[in-house]
């Protein structure tokens, strides 16, 4: 069964990639514009650090490392899961969801697999550069297990962001336009780009236990930076799994509600 979904996803991905490469100009603009936008954050931190030496005990490259991790997680989420945003406006409103529902495979799978967002590559490039450079400047070298752990953290971070997206995108079943809610929740990510220590406790709390974006950036970063929160970092994959269990429940509820009210 899993095998079927994996091979199916690869097929979908192949088709999506083919289409992506057809629209070359859009691809170039999309990737470079997201890259540039994310770069603004680095730019910001850089200019600040031309004027001061540390923030809350964190140095420039320590902060950019956190920033880079979230950028990578965000990039994966954007590339693979962007279609969740379209649930309400496109699939429910136009009835395309019904087509998904008469096929013998999961509608959620079809929603996610039908579309990729190449702009995410811009985030992946920038994130990759920033993370690598930060680790180098911080003189942190990683052995193989640590590299694997870093990859696990990044993937978990992406999973966390995607799960949160999924939970809020189900509002699209009812409202047929989840844009407002999604962009509002996504803007909480802004906080997670920087070490959450600089915020008052209640914001840290929200970002840790309620909308856990901090587990996509701050906590996994601290495994390598050792600023006192390392023990939290190992929770990252667990949080990702728990969030996905919740998200799938919410989705199932949304779908059955859609099925009984006909939207």
């Amino acid at each position: 069964m899993i095998f079927k979904y994996v091979t199916l996803y690869i097929e979908f991905l192949k088709q999506n990639l083919k289409t992506m490469l057809e629209y070359k100009a859009d691809f170039a603009i999309g990737v470079s514009s997201t890259l540039l936008t994310q770069f603004c954050g680095i730019f910001f931190v850089w200019v600040i650090f031309e004027n001061i030496k540390q923030i809350h005990g964190w140095t420039f490259y320590e902060i950019t490392f956190v920033y880079g991790l979230l950028t990578l997680a965000k990039g994966f989420d954007m590339f693979f899961f962007d279609n969740l945003n379209a649930l309400g406006f496109e699939y429910v409103r136009e009835g395309k969801l019904d087509i998904f529902m008469i096929r013998p495979i999961s509608p959620l799978f079809q929603l996610v697999a039908s579309h990729i967002m190449p702009d995410g590559i811009g985030l992946l490039i920038l994130g990759g550069i920033v993370v690598t450079k930060s680790l180098a400047e911080l003189k942190i070298t990683l052995d193989l297990p640590q590299i694997l752990l870093l990859i696990v953290f990044i993937i978990s971070g992406a999973a966390i962001i995607a799960a949160i997206n999924l939970i809020f995108s189900t509002t699209g079943f009812k409202t047929m336009n989840s844009y407002i809610i999604m962009s509002s929740v996504n803007s909480l990510q802004e906080f997670a780009f920087y070490p959450i220590l600089i915020y008052p406790k209640f914001i840290g709390f929200i970002l840790t236990w309620i909308i856990p974006y901090a587990f996509a950036s701050f906590y996994p970063a601290d495994y390598f930076l050792h600023k006192g929160f390392e023990h939290y970092s190992m929770l990252t994959p667990i949080i990702a799994i728990i969030l996905w269990i919740i998200a799938l429940r919410v989705w199932r509820f949304g779908l059955s509600h859609y099925s009984s009210t006909g939207s």
Binding site: F43, F44, I180, I198, P200
Partner: protein, 264 residues
């Protein structure tokens, strides 16, 4: 003529009201970003009460004003022009008895009015009571600020307009919008007061129009520029408006030729 202009502004306000839900989005996101940067800046100012000639109190007002202006200046105007070009709607607009660019400009002003009422004003109230804000130095300053702000909006229109015309060559107007947002982000001062920039970066910034969109009005408001400097700043804004107007006009007539030859 004036009647026509008022009509256009009114219609745009009505359209904006219909999309009130977008206003809520802008409100919430902008407010959130103000708070994010508030905390970051408070952390930056933890040990110093003045950095680069800007005090802690000033920076709070700076963030609030800059962020609100930024939201308005990057309000998705480019995809709107893009959509007009791609759906062919623009050919209808060109038939109207008013210059298209002027038509769009007044629409923009209508946008600004609704933005102010539905988004900027509530944000200002909230920030006033939660974060505290500084008042302008004196009455004259507030007048110059408003003048500068008005010019900033006009200026940003021209920038968006000609970037919008670029959608000719590409489908992806949202990509162009993002580009513009990024450039404005870096060089308008919304992220950091430009006085923080190292010298060489400042020089580059001075060659670009973006600081006129936000930094100019805000620096007048906060008294970062005083006295005769204010006139300099206003003068530069005017100069940039003229330059951008000419540029966009050139681009515009070139684009019109293309549209009318290609048939949309």
């Amino acid at each position: 003529m004036l009647g026509k202009i008022l009509e256009i502004i009114k219609i745009n306000i009505k359209v904006n009201l219909a999309y009130a839900i977008n206003a809520w989005g802008a409100f919430f996101v902008t407010l959130l970003q103000i708070f994010v940067f508030y905390y970051i800046w408070m952390a930056i100012y933890k040990f110093d009460s003045v950095i680069n000639g800007i005090s802690k109190d000033q920076i709070i007002t700076y963030i609030i004003l800059s962020r609100i202006i930024y939201t308005q200046v990057t309000s998705g105007f480019i995809p709107r022009i893009g959509r007009k070009i791609h759906t062919g709607e623009i050919t209808m607009d060109l038939l109207k008895p008013m210059d298209f660019q002027l038509f769009m400009l007044f629409g923009r002003i209508g946008d600004f009015v609704s933005f102010f009422a539905m988004t900027a004003f509530p944000i200002l109230i909230i920030c006033l009571f939660t974060l505290g804000m500084q008042a302008p130095l004196n009455f004259a300053t507030s007048i110059y600020f408003l003048l500068s702000l008005f010019m900033a909006i006009i200026l940003s229109f021209f920038v968006e307009f000609w970037i919008g015309l670029l959608t000719f060559y590409t489908n992806y107007s949202w990509g162009l919008q993002t580009f513009q947002e990024a450039l404005v982000s870096m060089f308008s001062g919304v992220l950091i007061p430009l006085s923080f920039f190292p010298g060489w970066l400042r020089t580059i910034t001075n060659l670009l129009p973006f600081q006129q969109m936000s930094y100019s009005p805000v620096s007048i408001y906060l008294g970062i520029v005083k006295g005769s400097q204010v006139y300099e700043v206003l003068g530069f804004q005017l100069l940039w408006i003229v330059i951008l107007f000419v540029l966009s006009r050139l681009f515009y007539s070139f684009a019109i030729k293309k549209i009318t030859v290609q048939g949309g």
